[in-house]
């Protein structure tokens, strides 16, 4: 039996998430009305803070399904009990991410054009199909879990979701991997890196939501389950660090990428700070200490670790997306270059309030969908009764 969010908390949460969503929509309307001139984005930094938010949510939407996959595909019962919440969070995060991505378009009113004109060579167009597919598969998977008549289809649906989300995150990584002309991107390492990042970020989101639901309903999570799930988060954080390190080390090895790596890792102003202090220290090492050090075994430590992982993910995405564009394109190798269009110059970018609020609005959408569905569909995670005999079957 799933327990329900306590009524008062529910309405406060709906109001709060509705307000954040509303503010995001106002920001989008302002951007539509005045044009992108009111954002910090320009012809050099064409993707900004909204894309950091959107990509975080889309990547996490895929990763949060890990809990469901471990349950249904790999048959771990503790995770299976959490599969409905995991699927719901995936739909919610994807909806949030796509809302931001869509409302940031120069012509958001032309959504129908995007839905009816597919350029088959475009990875963006593939992603439109992949996103719609994930919505459908996750919804069908939820259906197989909630309707006893659909139970026989649960396993096939779980496999379909599992395969689809791996392809989806590959597609997200390919958006950058196919950009051969930019030093920061154009690497075959990006799709697997995005998949591993999705595991960590999705699980961090899951931890926070699960812990919040338990806290608000006056329940406690079985410490053994907490231990298992937080160790898994630790493993994913380490795997992400490994991929990020490999990406930079391979770049450092190529002479032509020297300048870019020096910019991102050492001399590039805010970017090295965000990378080392934001992503590596606060977003990876500190969470690992909180996860693996025996002194920190409480739920709140896991929640703080998860929040730090999410903070680190934003720092990493900012460096990756904005830093990747800020470093000048190498159009004339071997020459010092100047022009009126920023050639040879580090591009500057100061995010404005509307674009930041738009990104936040996307989180509001995810928050709102989660809050309503958890209550209406009864998707809170189960109140596990600690049972020593079961522990070995996790």
């Amino acid at each position: 039996m799933y327990s329900k969010v306590e009524a008062r908390n529910f309405y406060i949460l709906v109001a709060a998430s509705g307000l954040i969503t509303g503010i995001g929509l106002v920001a989008a309307w302002l951007m539509e009305e005045h044009g992108h001139i009111i954002t910090g984005m320009n012809n050099q930094i064409v993707w900004g803070i909204p894309h950091v938010f959107a990509i975080f949510m889309i990547v996490a939407a895929s990763g949060v399904l890990n809990v469901a996959s471990i349950g249904s595909v790999f048959g771990k019962s503790v995770y299976k009990a959490r599969a409905p919440l995991s699927s719901l969070l995936s739909i919610a995060l994807l909806a949030g991410g796509l809302t931001v991505l869509m409302l940031d378009l120069g012509r958001a009113d032309r959504l129908m054009v995007a839905m009816t004109n597919y350029n088959l060579t475009s990875v963006f167009a593939w992603n439109v199909v992949l996103y719609s597919g994930l919505f459908s598969f996750a919804a069908i998977y939820l259906w197989t879990m909630m309707d006893p008549r659909m139970k026989p289809w649960n396993k096939p649906a779980a496999f379909a979701v599992f395969a689809w989300r791996i392809i989806l995150t590959t597609g997200t990584g390919l958006i950058f991997a196919f950009l051969v002309a930019r030093q920061a991107y154009g690497s075959a390492l990006l799709p697997p890196m995005f998949i591993v990042m999705s595991f960590a970020w999705g699980l961090a989101v899951f931890h926070i939501v699960q812990s919040s639901l338990y806290a608000w309903n006056g329940k406690t999570l079985d410490p053994v389950i907490l231990q298992r799930m937080k160790n898994l988060l630790g493993l994913f954080v380490i795997a992400t660090l490994y991929f990020v390190a490999t990406y930079h080390l391979t770049n450092l090895y190529f002479a032509r990428q020297d300048g870019f790596e020096r910019f991102i890792l050492a001399g590039g102003g805010i970017f090295p700070w965000l990378f080392w202090a934001g992503y590596v220290l606060l977003g990876s090492f500190l969470p690992l200490v909180l996860i693996f050090h025996p002194a920190f075994d409480k739920t709140r430590h896991t929640v703080i670790a998860s929040l730090l992982v999410i903070f680190g993910s934003f720092a990493l995405l900012y460096v990756f997306i904005i830093g990747g564009q800020a470093y000048p394109l190498s159009i004339f190798p071997g020459y010092e270059v100047t022009s009126s269009f920023g050639d040879g110059q580090i591009a500057s970018y100061s995010p404005s309030l509307p674009e930041f609020l738009l990104g936040l609005g996307g989180l509001g959408v995810a928050f709102l969908i989660t809050t309503i569905c958890v209550r209406v569909l009864g998707m809170a995670p189960p109140h596990d009764i600690p049972d020593r005999r079961k522990r070995d079957t996790f």
Partner: protein, 244 residues
């Protein structure tokens, strides 16, 4: 009444000749622009429009091509990071030898344009005659093409526009770039930058059909050393440079 008026007859004869002349003049004029393409006729794949920029002739500090482009296409001419720049002058200094160069960079009208590959809606497209364009009615403003372009040739319209040129449709929230002055080319004229460069007495930009072995540009490409920018990407741009 029966008496004929020779003067009147002469007048009528001249007036008729003038009227006939006026009637066929546009046709004759159209015939004069022999390279022009009649309205409604599709661009031909037999032609590949291109340019050859002679950097030895291109003057450091000369901006005439940029000014002409802005005027022709109704661009503001502003150089803020949010302003559209379809063509820009780039100053180069060789890091080893110290040699200085100046050249214009615009959309390179690639044979395999990355912007066309990545555009989700097919708004970015390559015409049969090699001109790469953006369909302003289909562009959703995602800016993926700007991320993909190796030449940073594209601009995004960040603000509402006023006083647009009828021949050059533009739109807030869409991406745009050099059209190779397609409206002029279709009339049989040269792009505005080419004309301005010639007028400035430099003649650094040669425009023509790369597919026609007898065209001036093809002959020149056969006789002088020319290069494509980022040739390593194998995009086969239609814009070539001499002296880089």
């Amino acid at each position: 009444m029966s008496a004929e008026n020779p003067e009147r007859r002469a007048f009528l004869g001249k007036a008729s000749a003038l009227a006939a002349g006026l009637a066929i003049a546009p046709g004759v004029l159209l015939f004069g622009f022999a390279h022009g393409r009649p309205a409604g006729e599709a661009a031909s794949g037999k032609v590949r429009w291109g340019m050859l920029v002679d950097t030895n002739q291109c003057g450091n500090g000369c901006n005439d091509c940029v000014t002409a482009c802005n005027k022709e296409n109704g661009l503001s001419g502003g150089t803020k990071a949010t302003d559209s720049q379809w063509i820009r002058k780039v100053e180069l200094k060789n890091m080893k030898g110290g040699r200085n160069l100046s050249l214009p960079v615009m959309c390179q009208h690639c044979e395999h344009p990355p912007c066309v590959d990545v555009c989700p809606t097919g708004a970015s497209f390559r015409r049969a005659d090699g001109i790469v364009l953006v369909d302003k009615h289909r562009c959703i403003g995602c800016r993926y093409c700007m991320m993909a372009c190796p030449y940073k040739a594209r601009s995004f319209v960040h603000e509402p526009l006023a006083d647009q040129k009828p021949d050059v449709p533009r739109g807030k929230g869409t991406v745009e770039s050099c059209t190779l002055c397609v409206h002029r080319v279709d009339r049989g004229e040269q792009p505005a930058c080419v004309e301005a460069c010639a007028k400035a007495g430099r003649g650094a930009i040669l425009f023509g059909d790369l597919n026609d072995p007898e065209s001036e540009i093809s002959k020149r490409i056969r006789t002088v050393a020319s290069a494509q920018i980022r040739a390593d990407l194998m995009l086969n741009p239609g814009i070539r440079y001499e002296g880089i």
